[in-house]
């Protein structure tokens, strides 16, 4: 590598990726393929999981037991299944990727939700021999609820269907139809063989009928962070910094991560819920005081006036107020062991705010096969539905469709302290 490449490495952007799909759709093989071909795995790591211990080098994906590379827990290797998300890292000269490799079993859907919640893009694996499976639908529906920007359907194991175009087109149409029902019209489908390598990083010779880009090239081309800086400014306050030292007797900085939008020195801001106004006097960072800050930077704000602001408050621009209510309607992925029922009470955490919440209604439960909304008096683990909540105090929020940070929340079981629900406010 030359010095020029290092410059590029520092300046590249991050793409958070999630891979999902049913059991045995070849996820581990695909990830192994990507890691080997982008040099995201080291030689000693590959040698440790080679199939033939007497072979002294690893040159292709065939030489290694790819699942052993990604299944990091002994319980996973014992049972031959993926239980929890594994995070993998690889980079090309254009981009760094964080890939959350998610379990396929329905039982571990909550871990899939964990891996998917932070993703900008998702790869949905489908075995070309089996087509769209129930778990493919469940995962795709969760990805659609989570509002993942880019969905890529990887129709894998094309080598086992003689690279047949019709097989691919049938699956593509099935997925397009399923996705269109939930408003996803922009779906990229790529036929591939992770085992042979065709269409993952290199085109290969087997599918001249497919004219699109390879998977890796497609991932490098996706746009990220589309427009979060154009959204209204939201600044949930994490902490108030008051050193009260001789050198800094009166310093009072509001620490937080810009959830969306931008803020400039001199901007008028409103503190919610109090509604008190002030102006931004200084944007403070360790590296100096910039004139402007934007999402997702972690900064401190100093205001002109000494108004009462604490953790859980949100700073916004006066002409772009968020919604504020004690009653919410939300889509929810239920990930708790005990079912969600009407009248159950939980703690709700949204940005830096934690409030008590009570379930006032289960509006519907989603049938993941038909996407029909059906009545239900409970949501069991891994079920998806729409609920109404009443909160102890009003919450400042945006709808999840408009803002993933201020529109999302978790529900916490007050007895076990576990995270039991992933909510997206309507």
């Amino acid at each position: 590598m030359t010095a020029l490449n290092f410059k590029i490495t520092e300046e590249i952007e991050l793409l958070r990726l999630v891979t999902v799909g049913s059991v045995d759709d070849g996820k581990s093989t695909l990830i192994g393929r990507l890691l080997i071909e982008t040099k995201g795995a080291f030689e000693d790591q590959l040698l440790a999981v080679r199939k033939k211990k007497n072979k002294s080098d690893v040159t292709s994906a065939d030489d290694i037991d790819l699942a052993m590379l990604t299944d990091g827990l002994s319980a996973e290797r014992e049972q031959g299944i993926t239980i929890d998300v594994a995070y993998r890292y690889f980079a090309t000269p254009k981009r760094k990727f964080i890939m959350a490799d998610c379990p396929g079993h329905e039982q571990y859907t909550r871990n899939m939700v964990t891996g998917a919640s932070t993703a900008n893009a998702a790869i949905i694996l489908i075995d070309a021999r089996h087509g769209v499976m129930p778990q493919t639908r469940r995962h795709t529906h969760i990805l659609s609820l989570l509002g993942i920007e880019h969905l890529i359907v990887a129709v894998n194991k094309m080598d086992l269907v003689d690279y047949n175009e019709n097989t691919f087109q049938t699956i593509r149409k099935d997925m397009q139809a399923y996705c269109a029902k939930q408003g996803i019209n922009d779906l990229l489908c790529i036929p591939m063989s992770a085992l042979a390598g065709d269409m993952v990083v290199i085109r290969g010779q087997q599918m001249p009928w497919y004219e699109g880009e390879t998977l890796l090239a497609s991932l490098e081309l996706l746009s990220v962070m589309g427009g979060v800086d154009k959204a209204p400014f939201r600044f949930p306050v994490q902490l108030v910094n008051r050193p009260q030292t001789p050198a800094l007797p009166d310093y009072r900085g509001f620490m937080g991560t810009v959830a969306s939008g931008t803020v400039k020195v001199g901007d008028t801001i409103v503190a919610l819920p109090s509604g008190k106004q002030s102006k931004v006097k200084e944007i403070v960072t360790f590296d100096g005081s910039p004139d402007e800050a934007f999402a997702p930077q972690s900064i401190s704000l100093i205001l002109e006036d000494n108004i009462d602001i604490s953790r859980g408050n949100t700073l916004v621009h006066p002409h772009q107020l968020p919604k504020q209510d004690k009653v919410l309607t939300a889509n929810i992925c239920w990930i708790g062991d005990d079912a969600l029922k009407v009248r159950n009470k939980y703690l709700l955490k949204q940005t830096t705010t934690t409030v008590k919440a009570i379930v006032t209604a289960i509006v519907s439960k989603t049938n993941i096969h038909t996407l029909a909304k059906e009545p239900s008096d409970a949501l069991a683990m891994n079920e998806i539905g729409e609920i109404e909540l009443k909160l102890q105090q009003p919450l400042q929020y945006d709808s999840y469709a408009d803002n993933h940070v201020t529109g999302s929340f978790i529900l916490i079981d007050t007895f076990t302290n576990n995270t039991v629900g992933a909510g997206m406010i309507q």
């Binding site: 300046e11 080291f42 594994a86 871990n111 991560t257 993933h404």
Partner: protein, 300 residues
């Protein structure tokens, strides 16, 4: 980068700072594990950024085995003083008095006593409910499975089969009395990111990371430092060699790498070209699922 875009290093930095602030907001008594290595240097630098212009709102805890390089102790004391942090050093004095060492007792037992037990004792003694660690997910396959906020029961143990879901950047800080969390703000950083960031931010690191002629013993594939000789095996002979360390641990169990990289540009170039993982030079990691077993027992 255009105006409102962050480089991947800046995005990682923002994420780490966000996590550190959440911990300080939601936990009663946090502490930051400080091992004096490069990842600790980056974590400490990020903590200074997170709470600037105030000093760190938590102490640093160094679990000292007594087997660290003298350069590490010197660096630790000077750097901690320079940044104005509070440093707590804890050692398993009982085991050290009994002469615990990897040669006679085995690596696993030595690590268990001098690192894991000393850490668990120190966390209990301090009553810490949250402990930051500089572990990265790219280091090792069981670490690749760890959450940012990783729950530990009353015995400091990890249950990897039953981890709390972790959604978006909303971290659940609710724990029962006696439980604690290990927090890994560098989870999403790779070794390459660490080196690039150290170079970009000019973060001080222990001089052992830079190549120099050092006294070395070759044991199998490992290059064992021989600054002192009591941990060497029978018949091993030290010879001078140009080398450096990719990771730092205890003298008897940390291998050097054959290298002439003497400045940050050369180290970055070497990291980019590396074919072997950095943990390969750590004797503790060898064995089928040793890191996972150690982590379950409470090791970082």
């Amino acid at each position: 980068m255009s105006d409102h875009r962050l480089t991947q290093l800046k995005a990682l930095e923002a994420e780490s700072i966000h996590i550190m602030r959440e911990v300080v907001a939601e936990f009663r008594n946090p502490v930051m594990l400080y091992s004096v290595g490069k990842d600790s240097s980056v974590m400490l630098h990020l903590a200074r950024k997170a709470f600037y212009p105030a000093t760190l709102p938590f102490p640093l805890l160094h679990v000292d085995t007594g087997y660290k390089f003298k350069e590490m102790y010197a660096f630790r004391d000077a750097y901690v003083k320079e940044v104005g942090a509070e440093l707590i050093v804890r050692r398993n004095e009982d085991a050290i008095a009994k002469g615990m060492n990897p040669k006679d007792f085995g690596v696993a037992r030595c690590c268990g006593a001098l690192k894991t037990q000393a850490l668990l004792d120190a966390l209990e003694e301090g009553g810490y409910d949250a402990a930051f660690g500089g572990a990265r997910r790219d280091e090792e396959r069981s670490r690749a499975k760890e959450r940012m906020f990783s729950m530990r029961d009353e015995f400091g143990q990890w249950d990897p089969k039953n981890q709390r879901p972790e959604l978006w950047s909303i971290y659940n800080g609710c724990i029962h009395e006696g439980e604690s969390v290990r927090v890994f703000p560098l989870s999403n950083w790779t070794e390459m990111d660490i080196w690039l960031y150290i170079r970009e931010q000019e973060i001080p690191i222990v001089p052992l990371y830079y190549a120099k002629e050092r006294s070395i013993v070759k044991r199998g594939n490992l290059l064992i430092p021989a600054m002192n000789t009591e941990h060497l095996h029978e018949g091993e002979v030290a010879a001078p060699m140009m080398c450096r360390f990719r990771t730092l641990g205890c003298i008897p169990c940390t291998g050097a790498v054959d290298s002439s990289a003497a400045d940050m540009d050369e180290i970055v170039a070497e990291a980019a070209a590396a074919k072997r993982s950095e943990r390969e030079t750590r004797i503790i990691d060898h064995g089928s699922n040793s890191m996972e077993d150690k982590k379950k027992e409470g090791y970082f």
